[in-house]
Amino acid sequence: MTIELYDANTVKEAVDLLKKHADRSAKVVAGGSDLVGGIMKDFVQGKGMPRPEVLIDLTTIKDLVGIKVAADNITIGAATTVSDVVDSKDILAKFPILQQSAASVASPLIRNFGTVGGNINQRPRCWFLRGEDFNCYKKGGDFCFAVTGDNRYHAIIGGELCYIVHPSDMATALLALNATAKISGAQGDRTVPFDQYFTGPREDVLRENQLKAGEIMTHVVVPNAAPGTKMGWTKLKDRQVYDFALISVAVAFTVENGTWKDGRVTLGGVAPVPYRALVVENALKGKDIKATIKAAAAQIRTVARPMSLNAFKVDLAQGLIERTILEALGS
């Protein structure tokens, strides 16, 4: 059960190594807090989730580490630590919700090791998936234990076959900020907007994003927000340190005389992907926010399909959408 670990020096080298060791389920690793400290340590594996025998370290690739500020966007390398995002004055100034979402991740120790790419691409936190004794769909099995089991933390929207919730806080904020992922692979480079980056179980139950075999997320590009954009971030968790979102809400919108011009409302902890609450956005568009917010937030109920034990999450989502938008709006 030995593991080979390669330090890649360039993205190309990493991509080549991934291809070369594809038959040994090679994976890229950065902070390793989930892949090594979670998935591998806990033997989370199965036919559809083979245990990697080769790991390729991305933190040794200089181009993947750092925050670059351009006139119209900020580019963040995938191997930049979450702490570096938390500490970035540029990110705080331009995208406070990205800074807040990063600061809400796990604990200082994990943020010091964990990276932006790792946070966005980590595997979900379902206790059936993580339990060695449950061979669920994601591991290549043919059952979702959450359907009949304890599903208090599971999806209330968009579950099908598998009812995980996407675990990334930063992805929720980045989706609200209309970010784009840069991807490299043997077939070349491509960019995918966050709107399309994440994959639900209906599309492919074995993964959570668009990365194909042999591809690496290299950077995240966050475009400048329109001047005067209001932003808000809420992460509700049962424990203030080292806990995933029960519900998180990220909002970014522009306002004119109290009226919602344009913007995004995204939710974490509710769906297998970071969820864009279009029903709420549409209900607010062109409306006076204070007058409409209650009805708009309630729109989340029209898309929610809670399971046996998690109907309370629908109430939480509704309440927190309302609260986050009003707080961002200011009085």
Partner: protein
């Protein structure tokens, strides 16, 4: 002589009646019995009533209790940092988890994945071929002499390897390998064939007569024991103006200490040496000797004194420690057995799931008419008792003229029960105080006034044993005043502080049996040639600081400065005598009491040698001196004549004169005449967010009567820590299983949610000192009582805030939001 099963003695009258006098003598030394004495004395009360005279402990110590606090106390009552503090926070202290030895092998245990099954076969052939695997022990190759060895009490019986397993995590094979990764891999190469049997996972289902039996019993289903009820007055035929009828529940909790269970052991010829992070090294020694069939002096158990805490579940061995000893014997190598977090959370013990069915009848004038409490405990996959421990507060705290107490312990194929900073007092207090709170609102009486009106401050109403100087009224009035009750208390739902956020406040009270003492103990005080003082005690440090406290007690009793006294952090059974378990909040009044008496003995010897030396000194000058011990005093480490205090003799001079060290020693058996009781009241203010279901504690006050705070600094830490632990169980801690498979759902520290430092309320501590006649310097222990009040005080404050009764712990936001919805 067959091994006596202490839990059966407590639970099966016929079994207890079958024991010989020799058995009863041996029982006094049995580790499981000692644990029950320290931690679950309620379980023993009925058997002791019948057979107590046969126990060696019926002989009480004849030394008068040292309850008087010296007027000029120099050490007792001062704030002293723990002797292990620096080593603990810097990790320079040697924790068992970190220890290693040349050539040691690492152990891993393959465990059952089913809650109830027969192990049909274990095929280790693939695993044995893996390079680095040294030995795999399982039922098929266990040496015959260990086939009938078991832990605890029968039935269901926990053998070294069961053919029929009753729980997920029951050991199937133990592997010793060159490193833990090889052991991990080998574990996954072992092929086990199971015959899966129907499991009993729900406590109430398990009590039904239709539930299949899993062991021989006359009880319904898988009930372990039904305690004979306690009946006071006529609870069934009494009427009251108002009757509170409620069911309260608590979920399974686990200690989750920082350092998982760990041992490092090796054989030196025919002697086993084991370093083990236990709270009772002598119990570990005796348990290993018993299991291995070797004499007690052929086992040495060492506990380094640096331990990632205990909280109650480390009083003895589990089967895994026997496996480690056997693997060491079979391989001839040291064995490191470090539990994984999964193993520590799942396979060790838990505070069990409880259910209380409660009726409390009260009259409009605020008097309690009757109480009926049926306590049901899910003790998990073993023979254990937990339910009737909840009775102590129920029969002692308030005057309840007509009372019915029932208790049922139920076995399920689930988490095993055991002490966790107490076992069941927090459950009893939750049931009692929720009922009291609801009753006070039902009759429209101020909840604090209602409690004060009904306090029992005399003694146990049934046994007539008296309390000693009970401080419960002081505790309640102290928190009432500190929280400014008159200004903060209001009608339910009457104070909205922000949109959707409501303020609430409550007070709760608590009485429990912990802190008084229990076990038979010993202690030694050695005066060295240079006048330094060395203490010897096998009282295991578990983080509570009692070894520091022992130095303080000895220094005070002797009359020497604290910096002249040392005690080892570690305990070594080869060098020290049994001092009982560090449990039941008892070590202040057990190990500490023995240390006090040993110090008094040493002091007497010092003074008597002082007399001889002074007479000798005088005779050398040709003078004749008439002097007795009563003429001398010892203060600040110096002996002097009371009539000529200017001339001092150092302790070194006395030892120099005597030529050998002075050894003061004591044994202590406590007298049974007192209803030794820990008293407390807590008050809390909360803000309840009706949108998120978040309950924020904005003010928390904890008052405890502990007779005398020997070290107020450590007392405050014990209380603050207890409140934080309890708050974890109030909001987020709950050991879950998948109801279909019986498999644990959250056996890791990410999903079993201990509170983080950001979630921890800062409790304001009020120390009430009403000296106890039985206590060392009047002290009463403090380890467990702080755990019991957070649940009722927070749930009651939530009622005051938003008007819903939250009677099920943990008080999670899903339950709270659902209750608010139902209430409208």
């Amino acid at each position: 002589m067959a091994r006596i099963e202490a839990v059966r003695v407590a639970q099966e009258p016929a079994y207890a009646a079958s024991l010989s006098d020799a058995d009863w003598s041996a029982l006094g030394q049995d580790p499981d019995w000692q644990m029950l004495v320290a931690e679950q004395s309620e379980m023993l009360s009925s058997v002791i009533a019948v057979h107590g005279h046969k126990l060696p402990g019926s002989r009480a110590s004849d030394v008068t209790a040292p309850n008087a606090i010296p007027v000029a106390a120099k050490v007792v009552g001062t704030a002293v940092a723990r002797m292990q503090g620096l080593g603990t926070v810097t990790s320079q202290g040697q924790f068992t988890e970190h220890l290693g030895m040349a050539g040691m092998l690492f152990m891993r245990t393959l465990r059952s994945r089913y809650p109830h099954a027969k192990i049909k076969s274990v095929d280790t052939s693939k695993a044995e071929k893996l390079p680095g695997v040294r030995k795999i022990l399982h039922r098929g190759n266990l040496p015959k002499e260990y086939a009938n060895v078991f832990i605890g009490a029968a039935q269901p019986t926990r053998f070294l390897f069961n053919e029929e397993v009753f729980e997920v995590g029951s050991p199937i094979a133990a592997i010793a390998a060159d490193n833990e990764h090889i052991a991990d891999q080998a574990m996954r190469l072992i092929d086990v064939q199971y015959e899966v049997l129907p499991a009993s996972l729900d406590m109430l289902e398990a009590m039904k007569s239709t539930t299949p039996k899993q062991f021989e019993t006359k009880e319904a289903g898988t009930i372990i024991a039904t305690t004979p009820p306690l009946v006071r007055g006529d609870p069934s035929n009494t009427r009251a103006d108002a009757t509170v009828d409620m069911v309260t529940r608590r979920a399974t909790e686990q200690h989750a200490p920082l350092e998982p269970t760990a041992s490092l052991s090796y054989w030196d010829g025919d002697k086993l040496n084991m370093t083990y992070n236990s709270s009772y090294s002598h119990s570990v020694r005796n348990g290993l000797a018993q299991a291995l069939g070797i004499p007690q002096n052929k086992v040495r158990v060492f506990q380094p004194g640096y331990i990632g805490s205990n909280y109650g579940y480390r009083g003895g061995i589990d089967v895994s420690e026997v496996h480690a000893a056997l693997l060491g014997k079979l391989t001839g190598k040291p064995i490191k057995n470090l539990y994984t977090r999964y193993e520590d959370l799942v396979t060790r013990t838990h505070r069990p799931e409880f259910r209380n069915e409660v009726k409390l009848g009260v009259n409009k004038d605020g008097s309690i008419v009757f109480g009926k409490f049926k306590v049901i405990a899910n003790v998990g996959a073993q023979r254990a008792g937990a339910a009737n421990g909840a009775w102590f507060g129920l029969y002692n705290l308030y005057k309840i003229p007509n009372l019915l107490l029932e208790a049922v312990d139920v076995m399920t194929n689930s988490y095993k029960s055991g002490p966790y900073r107490c076992v069941s007092h927090p459950n009893g207090t939750f049931a009692l105080e929720m009922a009291m709170e609801k009753a006070s609102y039902a009759i429209g009486m101020d909840p604090v006034e209602f409690r004060l009106k009904n306090l029992n401050e005399v003694g146990n109403p049934d046994t007539k044993k008296p309390f000693s100087n009970p401080g419960i009224r002081d505790c309640i009035t102290a928190v009432r005043d500190a929280i400014n009750w008159k200004a903060t208390w209001h009608a339910p739902k009457a104070k909205q502080v922000r949109p959707g956020v409501f303020h609430g406040v409550a007070v709760a009270a608590h009485a429990c049996s912990h802190g008084g003492g229990g076990n038979t103990v010993s202690g030694q005080v050695i005066i060295n040639g240079d006048g330094t003082v060395q203490l010897v005690s096998a009282s295991n440090e578990v983080g509570s600081g009692q070894r520091t406290e022992m130095m303080m007690i000895a220094a005070e009793a002797l009359g020497v400065p604290l910096n002249q006294v040392t005690i080892t952090p570690y305990v070594d059974t080869d060098l020290m005598t049994d001092t009982g378990v560090t449990a039941g909040s008892q070590q202040t009044n057990t190990g500490g009491r023995a240390m006090y008496e040993a110090a008094i003995d040493a002091r007497q010897q010092i003074l008597s040698w002082g007399v001889k030396k002074l007479i000798d000194d005088a005779s050398k000058k040709g003078q004749k001196l008439a002097l007795t011990v009563a003429d001398l005093d010892l203060q600040d480490g110096l002996v002097f004549e009371k009539r000529a205090p200017a001339t001092k003799i150092k302790l070194a001079e006395i030892i120099g004169f005597k030529l050998t060290s002075i050894i003061g020693k004591a044994e202590y058996i406590q007298d049974p005449k007192w209803e030794r009781t820990g008293w407390a009241a807590h008050a809390a203010e909360v803000e309840v967010d009706t949108v998120t279901g978040t309950v924020k504690i904005i003010n928390y006050i904890a008052a405890h009567d502990l007779g005398k705070a020997i070290n107020p600094f450590m007392v405050e830490q014990q209380i603050e820590g207890g409140v934080v632990m309890a708050v974890g169980a109030v909001f987020s801690e709950e050991m879950l299983i998948d109801k279909t498979t019986g498999v644990p759902l959250n056996p890791n520290l990410l999903d079993y949610k201990l509170p983080s430092i950001k979630d921890a309320p800062r409790a304001k501590v009020i120390i009430i000192e009403k000296p106890k006649e039985y206590g060392v310097f009047g002290a009463h222990g403090i380890g467990e009582p702080p755990m019991a009040l957070a649940a009722p005080v927070i749930a009651s404050a939530v009622y005051n805030a938003v008007g819903v009764w939250m009677t099920e712990m943990p008080l999670t936001r899903d339950k709270l939001l659902a209750a608010l919805k139902t209430a409208g």
